[in-house]
Structure formats: C-alpha cells, structure tokens
Amino acid sequence: MTPLTAYLLVAALLFAIGLAGALTRRNAILVLIGIEMMLNAANLNLIAFWRYGPHPEALTGMMFAIFSIAVAAAEAAVGLGLVISIHRHAHTTDVDLMNRMKG
C-alpha cells in the first residue's frame, strides 16, 4: 500500500466517523462537531494529494487546505451562535425536538 492510499483510507474513515456522529447524535453541538470532523478529513485528503502529487511546488493543495480551515472556522462560529440562539428560544439543543422554524 502506498502512503497516499493509506492517507486516503484514514481520511475516508475519519469522514465516515464524522458522518455517523452528525447523523446519530441528538445534541446540536455534537452534530456540528461531526461536520467539523468531515471538513478535517477533506483537508487531510488535500494535503496528502499535495504531498504526493506531481507538482508540490505549485502549492495548490496546501492553499486549498488553508482556505478550507479559514472557512471551517467561520462556519463553526456561526453554527455555534445559532445553537446558542435556538437554546435561548426553545430551551433545548436536541435536534429531534427542533422540528419547527416558527419562534
């Protein structure tokens, strides 16, 4: 198994764990944690392809990963702000109970 294949498999496993967390947990914060984990698995793919790709000096994969980290940070801030806001309105963070958009 080449190193690239091993990294891709690790990233796939991490993505699956994050997806399972996002789909099965009740707490909205843990759903966000699962989404962050999936984004990180994608970043690992980008960095692995950059490292073992034919033109690492072009920096494309590295730049993609850095911008992806910045976008994920913004997403986490807005998502957690939404969870806090919903908790203030509905007094719950259980996604099974959040079934209406009316305040």
Partner: protein, 170 residues
C-alpha cells in the same frame, strides 16, 4: 509507512471515535481536541508545516474553546434521560458505513492510477513560509480577500445571532 504514522493514525481515530461515542458532551469536546491535534501531527508528517500549525492554532486553539463555551452556555453537559443518540441512529450508522464502503472501494480500486511513488518515498517538497506568503499575496490574493470578508461577516453574524434581544423588540 513507519511506526510514527500508525501511532498518529491511532491517536486521531481514537479521538474521533470518542468524540462521537462518549455520553458527556464536555468529554466529547476534549476528545475532539485530541483528534484535531492528531490531524495536525499528520499534516506535519506530510511536510506541510504551515498547514499543521494553522490547524493547531485554529482548531485546537479557537474552535475547541468555542465548542466548550457553547456546551457550557447551553447546559449541554447534562446527559439527557432518553439517551444521547437519535431515534434513527441505525439508519445514520448504515449511511455512514455505506459511505465508507464506497470511499474505500474507490480508493483501493484506483490505487494504480493515483500519483505518487510506487515503492520509493519521494523527497519532501521544500516549502518555506516565504513562498506561501508570496503565493498568498500574488496568485491567491483574491481568495485571501474573500476569506477576510467572509471572516468579518461571520464574526458580525455570529454576534448578531447569539445576541440577547432585550434591547430590540422586547
């Protein structure tokens, strides 16, 4: 594929599994920090020093603290009576397993077509922070500005969404 690789992978996957499976939400956040740190170590092992340290700064430093604050502000550390998993957890687990099966099948099936060394490890690319800065300021300057705008909008938006509404309508 040395010993270090397996140790880092085991650390990352154990942290990720604990973050998904543990009952106490604060423990989940701490396990998530371990998983993020393991990923940063993998970036460092892939010779991506800048991305590795950016990962430590952003995820281990900022996002983990943000998650812990959100958990404490929403009193999410109390374990709910009817379990931490959703009613449809079996379907979610099946979807995740199917996604992993498809991804693993695709990766293993395309192993011949992937770039990279067959046996010999290529020399690590020498990338300095100077090169990254030059690239950010020349070729990638438009994405950089867009990310700056996005971060500003996210900052203002998160504050507006989470702000108390006492001053406004009520």
């Amino acid at each position: 594929m040395g010993f270090v690789f397996y140790v880092i992978v085991a650390l990352t996957l154990a942290g990720a599994l604990a973050a998904v499976l543990l009952k106490n939400t604060v423990h989940c956040a701490l396990a998530l920090t371990v998983a993020f740190a393991g990923l940063a170590l993998q970036f460092l092992e892939l010779d991506a020093q800048f991305a590795g340290f950016a990962q430590i700064l952003v995820y281990v430093g900022a996002v983990a603290i943000l998650v812990v604050f959100a958990i404490l502000l929403t009193r999410g550390s109390e374990t709910p009576k009817d379990g931490v998993f959703s009613r449809t957890w079996l379907a979610g687990l099946a979807i995740a397993a199917a996604v992993f099966a498809v991804l693993g099948w695709a990766v293993l099936g395309s192993a011949q077509a992937l770039p990279g060394p067959g046996g010999a490890r290529t020399a690590p690319p020498t990338v300095t922070v100077l090169q990254i800065g030059n690239a950010l300021m020349s070729r990638y300057v438009l994405p950089l500005e867009i990310v700056a705008l996005l971060l500003t909008a996210a900052l203002i938006g998160a504050v507006m969404v989470a702000m108390h509404e006492k001053a406004g309508t009520q």
